[in-house]
């Protein structure tokens, strides 16, 4: 009999409860940013854009175990595509998001096809090479991308024809927040789907996955496509709300930075990706402005400490505490 109480079945009383909780949490945090830091909305908007890239990276690194140092390519391609489309006359923000999504997906599929063919060192080097190739192209095709000057003059129209982008980034912020909430809810569902679960299985043991009949390569490429879509949306949002796209959006540094954010928060958790982005970006915003080299020392130290003492990220202890509390709650 005592065994029966050991079952911690995730009993669902309300369907979509988890999704609703996620959406409300992000909205609440977003409201805090909006009302308490009205002067920092431009920064917070950039933060949200990066959060998409970290979520995207989480899909391939956290859920599939792919080690990549070239993930900014997906984000940058989405940003450039949206920026270029805007300059060429597609000014509707929602349509521009669509452009970023499609461009990101295509880039994701290409990257995935190249990167997930191997594991270990070849995989890592391929990811770097793909990222650098995209960065090289962005630099070279200056008639299209503005080269090292960046792409500027992106002036999107009003959201739904009503809300124009203002110099205080209010519209940009709220628009980005809304898109983040929708994307996050969709992703929460996605990572718990059979497809998402299988990816976690592949990460754990790919031979086992083959031995239950899974063809691994197409799965990983497909996951890369999804990740590319998410990153592409983030890139497009950043292009729309800041009005410029620079080479930094495809740079190696960007790729390395988002990997740091992901691991800081906790790979393999969507909340980990968000938490890592928020902590890192705010920290950077405050410290790096003062002295970039002190900033690098501190990030370096932090990263070393994370790897040594908390390899599962800062979210892991929070999550286990949460699980304990909910288990206790059910037993009572």
């Amino acid at each position: 009999m005592s065994d029966i109480t050991m079952i911690h079945a995730p009993q669902k009383r309300v369907p979509f409860a988890q999704e609703a909780a996620g959406a409300l949490t992000i909205l609440a945090l977003g409201a805090v940013g909006y009302f308490l830091y009205p002067d920092d909305l431009a920064f917070l908007t950039r933060l949200i854009g990066i959060a998409f890239l970290v979520l995207s990276l989480d899909l391939v690194t956290g859920y599939c175990g792919v080690a990549t140092l070239g993930h900014a390519a997906q984000f940058g391609v989405g940003a450039y595509a949206a920026g270029i489309a805007c300059i060429r006359g597609v000014t509707d923000p929602v349509a521009l998001l669509g452009v970023g999504l499609v461009a990101g997906t295509i880039m994701g599929l290409i990257s995935g096809a190249l990167i997930t063919r191997f594991r270990g060192l070849p995989q890592l080097v391929l990811s770097i090479a793909v990222g650098q190739l995209v960065a090289g192209l962005a630099n070279k095709l200056s008639w299209l991308t503005g080269g090292s000057d960046g792409l500027s003059g992106i002036e999107p129209g009003k959201v739904f024809g009503v809300f124009g982008f203002d110099m205080y980034s209010r519209t940009g912020y709220l628009f980005s927040l809304a898109v983040l909430v929708i994307t996050f809810v969709v992703l929460q569902r996605f990572v718990r789907s059979p497809f998402g679960l299988m990816c976690r299985g592949i990460k754990d043991d790919d031979l086992r996955a083959k031995m239950i009949g899974v063809s691994i390569y197409p799965r990983l490429v497909a996951m890369y496509g999804v990740a590319g879509a998410v990153a592409g949306i983030g890139g497009a949002l950043t292009a729309i709300s800041t009005g410029v796209v620079g080479l930094d959006s495809v740079s190696f540094e960007r790729s390395a930075e988002v990997l740091v954010m992901l691991v800081l928060g906790g790979a393999g958790h969507l909340w980990g990706a968000l938490a890592g982005t928020v902590i890192f970006m705010i920290f950077e915003h405050v410290v790096a402005a003062a002295n970039p080299f002190h900033w690098m020392t501190m990030v370096g130290l932090l990263l070393i400490l994370i790897v040594v003492f908390a390899p599962r990220g800062l979210i892991a202890p929070v999550m286990s505490l949460w699980t304990k509390m909910t288990r206790k709650g059910k037993a009572a």
Binding site: V125, A129, Q132, L133, K140, A256, L259, M298, L303, V307
Partner: protein
């Protein structure tokens, strides 16, 4: 003809710098299986130390090189003891990548805090500056010096690994770590010695290559990827592999920049993708089961 010859000289000299710096990383990755992205950071420490010794202490170039190599090895000891030991031969490359990126950031921050964030010139002695007449043509003396250094390093390493007792132990540890333990070879000491050798070579390459890869505040980040790519293309742990990859990539990069400068690194990384696809374990690498 003139252009071809000077491209070739530049390409070979560049390749040799890549080789001197990367070979240490290659040996480390072959033996300890650690993806060390901080290798360039140690080369950077070497460069900063040499620049300081030359300009502030006023020592001779050769003394500066010696001080830089020894100083960098000493500086690297705490990193080996406290951090690298934890990640040797660990299966998960992600953790290695993260830790060594952390080390890179940390070193960049500290080194620039101590020495100031500016370009660090390493002035050449008169014997190495200016042109050198090799009979039918004039060459920059420094380029010739770098090429000679590269060849010397390759030969010395080959002798060390093939002909000495240390080399035998090292090869035994690479091929059969468990077996080496059983034979009473202290892999811990082999690892530490290899680490010091790798770091020393990195620092040496950083100093003698400073004319080609200038020592600047973000050196460690700028070339982080380049060194890793050389090792990956050559095959971890192979001298011949690192040498051919360095020369090949040096040639691809230099000719690319001469002929189509606006393309930047494009051809470099395109060739990397092709090579890695054809030879996932590198040109001269062995697959590790």
């Amino acid at each position: 003809m003139r252009t071809v010859f000077s491209i070739m000289t530049d390409a070979v000299a560049y390749g040799m710098v890549l080789f001197i710096i990367s070979i240490g990383l290659s040996i480390m990755m072959g033996l300890m299986r650690v993806v060390n992205l901080a290798h360039g950071a140690f080369a950077m420490i070497g460069g900063y130390l040499a620049s300081y010794a030359l300009r502030d202490l006023g020592v001779h170039y050769s003394v500066a090189i010696l001080l830089a190599v020894i100083g960098t090895i000493i500086a690297s000891i705490p990193f080996e003891l406290l951090l690298y030991r934890r990640i040797y031969r660990k299966a998960d490359p992600l953790m290695q990548v993260l830790m060594t990126i952390g080390i890179t950031f940390f070193i960049i921050g500290i080194v620039n805090f101590i020495f100031g964030p500016s370009l660090k010139p390493i002035p050449l002695p008169p014997t190495l500056s200016g042109p050198l007449d090799i009979g039918f043509r004039m060459l920059p003396t420094h380029r010739v010096f770098v090429i000679i250094c590269g060849i010397t390093v390759a030969l010395a390493l080959w002798l060390l690994i093939e002909k000495t007792n240390f080399g035998i132990r090292l090869r035994a540890s690479v091929d059969h770590s468990g077996m080496a333990d059983a034979l009473g070879i202290r892999t811990e000491i082999i690892y530490a010695a290899t680490f010091a050798l790798a770091i020393g070579l990195g620092a040496f390459g950083g100093v003698v290559g400073a004319e080609i890869l200038p020592i600047e505040p973000y050196y460690a980040l700028r070339y982080m990827v380049t060194f890793l790519v050389v090792v990956s293309v050559g095959g971890a742990g192979s001298i011949l592999g690192a040498l051919s990859a360095s020369l090949l990539l040096g040639l691809a990069d230099t000719t690319g920049k001469y002929l189509a400068p606006e393309f930047g690194d494009f051809f470099f990384y395109l060739s990397v993708i092709v090579i890695v696809f054809l030879f996932p374990h590198g040109l001269f690498g062995k697959a590790h089961a």
